[in-house]
Assembly symmetry: D2
Homo-oligomer: 135 residues x 4
């Protein structure tokens, strides 16, 4: 399956005065998750941009279940949804290090855009990489 | 209607190397939106916490339509969804200053929690404030 | 004097689990301060960049005296140091709304860089604006 | 020497529209640096707070030399300045992964504060840990 787990250590700057991680940081974690999934697939997001393809967010959803605390070590479990034809979709689970707690679940949808800002279909080099791992 | 528009000026620190505002900042704007809606209703979120009620996010959704750029002046249009019984829900629209562009739309759902972390029903003092404006 | 006061309302996302504003946010405030000073002078930083001049930070200093809390309304008091010849320097004071508390003091130094990334002298159009106000 | 190197991978959310890492993120890196130095010494900052000692920033300085780019892997080289008597001071160098480039240098000063917010001398358990490594 097109899935990868990245680790992240929570810092003071991620927390808020309620004592937990502030909500907007989960979107940063989603980025870490998909960037590390791409790296794991052998094609970094940096390289995708170098080839003239950009993938801005078109949609994000996140359900927060159990708060994350300062100094927690979390796993960002990212899965590429290969059923999507137009653009790309990633599913995320924020897990505790021992995987016993699911802190949050969510997804992001992305358009593929060329360097002129036009929406395009996911390019062949990207589909190639995905096919290779999906078998 | 329980609705309020707050203004925000985009800074360099909000943008990313694509030249637009980075996605996680929209969740900060949603916070500004509901905080200013509460202030407009005459009951700041600070006062709500002082009375022992906390409102952590349980869910967030955002659809990004048109990117926001550096130095743009945006309006955060926040509406309280008064049809919700358990917890609270806010709807947001991120608009250009002249209101001709809708940059993004989204919502947040919140649990009401007491100082022991237990989920409680929205307290009477909060419902009072809402009723007053909803008529 | 080349000085301007900008206002900022502290949000939850600015605070950390100590209950105060996290240190890195002061640098965002410094940016707000100098951007609003430029706007006040009639030449936005956006326009400066459009003319091909960029002003990346070369140095920052901040002394934190009294913590800033959630929902505080602060004043960012920014002064351009006109004694500097190469690059630019801004001095900042973070004040409480009533100006009775100085929360922090600091400065930033900036290089002037052209669109090829070369360090250049502050351009004439910038010196012109400064001269006009400095008299 | 009381020194430790932590690694950090730059994400999109760290960059700004100039294409480089936005300045306030260096202060987050400084936090990562000193937190990982404490962990390396066998006493996490979390444990220090559990023992009733807090270490808010009193001062920060940073000199930016070479910009850091998206997807760069940096080393945060943190050294405890053991010559300081009151409070604590850390020196930082932001290095490229291969250590050939010094991107930035800086320091932070911290007060030691008890749970009543009173400034205290660095506690014995902290000095003990430092002495052990400093020999």
């Amino acid at each position: 399956m097109l899935s990868h787990k990245a680790r992240y250590r929570v810092i003071y700057g991620d927390t808020d005065r309620m004592g937990y991680v502030y909500n907007s940081n989960y979107l940063r974690w989603f980025e870490i998750g998909r960037a590390e999934l791409f790296r794991f697939l052998g094609l970094t997001y940096m390289e995708i941009e170098t080839k003239g393809i950009f993938m801005p967010l078109s949609e994000v959803f996140c359900k927060f279940t159990t708060p994350v605390k300062y100094d927690d070590l979390i796993l960002i479990d990212t899965t590429l949804d290969t059923t999507i034809r137009a653009g790309m979709k990633f599913d995320y689970r924020i897990l505790s290090e021992d995987r016993h707690i699911t802190h949050a679940k969510g997804y992001t949808k992305h358009a593929c855009v060329d360097d002129n800002g036009r929406v395009v279909r996911p390019p062949e080099f990207l589909k190639e990489v995905i096919r290779k791992f999906d078998e």
